[in-house]
């Protein structure tokens, strides 16, 4: 429901042009919810077909989330062309390191359930969460180191995705430990987190874009004397 509002807001404010992958992600989630809700009301209820549809949906959703993260990186490369080269190195370097971590996690804590689909779904979900969470942390660290200014829309999207990815890492690990679908407490926790993330996205996408920092009052002259002398010296050369 909240996601449907978000889709509406994005269409209304034409944000799908700026963030097409994020728009695709929200639209897909709405569609997936509709489909799964329909299946749960049908005679299939929460049976094997529901689980199959859920797993396939999760797979698509995960792929689109990667595209959203890539979109956020590209957003920075477009705004700061000087970062295009180093930014790509950070992105690719992070992927390599995180893939290694995901592989180590997969080997050290293999899925123990007898259900193949369950094992595949949550083992992949856990590996993907490691990757997505790591990529978003790298992005935040990168922008912090270079003191880059975020457009508030991109910041909100990245923050929501990051929170969701880190919580997803914990919940997918718990799912694999429990070895079966349908633990009510974990389900509620995941849903609550996701709702929080959607609210974060709504907050940042609904409010107007923050203007870039601007100095209406230039700072007092006496603070800058040393700096000015240095500049004057350079100019007079």
């Amino acid at each position: 429901m909240l996601l449907a509002i978000l889709v509406f807001v994005m269409v209304r404010r034409r944000l799908y042009r700026q963030f097409p992958m994020f728009f695709l992600y929200t639209a897909f989630e709405v569609l997936q919810f509709g489909l799964l809700f329909g299946i749960s009301l049908s005679p299939i209820h929460f049976g094997p077909d529901y689980v199959r549809a859920y797993s396939v949906g999760l797979g698509f959703s995960t792929v689109i989330r990667f595209a959203v993260i890539n979109e956020l990186y590209r957003h920075f490369w477009r705004r700061y062309p000087a970062l295009d080269g180093p930014g790509r190195y950070v992105f690719l370097g992070s992927i390599v390191v995180l893939l290694l971590i995901a592989a180590i996690v997969g080997i050290s804590a293999p899925a123990t359930s007898t259900k193949f689909l369950f094992n595949v779904t949550y083992a992949l979900d856990r590996a993907v969460s490691v990757l997505q969470c790591g990529l978003l942390i790298s992005l935040f660290a990168f922008s912090r180191y270079f003191a880059l200014s975020w457009r508030s829309h991109a910041f909100g999207i990245a923050l929501g995705l990051g929170i969701f990815a880190s919580v997803e890492l914990a919940t997918s690990s718990v799912w694999l430990h429990l070895g079966d679908f349908g633990n009510r407490a974990v389900n509620l926790f995941t849903m609550a987190t996701y709702h929080l993330c959607v609210l974060i996205w709504m907050f940042y996408l609904i409010r107007p874009e923050e203007p870039t920092s601007h100095f209406s009052n230039p700072p007092p002259k006496h603070d800058l004397e040393i700096w000015n002398n240095e500049l004057q010296r350079l100019v007079q050369r």
Binding site: A109, I137, A147, S173, S213, P218, L224, E230, L234
Partner: protein
């Protein structure tokens, strides 16, 4: 069970890390309210002197090896301090220039764009130079010459002057910041 607990703790740590990094955005915004309080003067000539290979060679030939190592460590420690100051100034100037990029005046926007590029480059060089300087402290004999930092910093300060003159033609250089 243990692995699951470790992974849950790791995810918690990742969440805290993410929120801390995201909070840094607000801190930067606060710095921008009064940038001059956070800017530090950098004497480029003194820095050049500290990383000058000829100067290093002169010290090497005129001092005893233990004395040279001690002096060289001191010099490189000071150089690290200079690079850190330059990188911090670059971060602040980057945000200042960001505002100028949206100027309706094409000359101002262009100067701001160049300043953004230079500030980013300087921070890149700084991220490469600082580990090299620390390596130089561990191995005082190794040749370290992060002169590009000085060049980049000079170029950046010239652009600050240009941006200041374009944005505030009547107020002088201070107004650029």
């Amino acid at each position: 069970m243990t692995t699951t607990i470790i992974l849950v703790l790791v995810s918690l740590l990742a969440l805290v890390c993410l929120l801390w990094l995201a909070k840094g955005r607000t801190v930067s915004a606060n710095v921008l309210q009064n940038p001059t309080e956070h800017m530090r003067a950098v004497d480029v000539e003194a820095f050049r002197n500290l990383v000058d290979p000829d100067e290093e060679e002169f010290l090497r030939t005129n001092l005893s090896p233990p004395e040279f190592r001690r002096i060289q460590r001191e010099r490189l420690r000071a150089a690290v301090e200079y690079v850190s100051c330059a990188a911090q100034n670059a971060a602040i100037l980057l945000r200042v220039a960001d505002a100028g990029r949206r100027s309706s005046d094409p000359a101002t926007a262009e100067a701001a764009e160049k300043l953004v590029d230079n500030a980013i480059r300087l921070r890149l060089y700084a991220s490469l130079a600082i580990p090299r300087l620390y390596l130089g402290m561990i191995l005082p004999g190794a040749h370290i010459s992060p002169v590009r930092i000085a060049e980049s910093y000079e170029q950046m300060t010239r652009l600050v002057v240009l941006l200041g003159c374009l944005q505030y033609p009547t107020r002088g250089i201070s107004s650029a910041l």
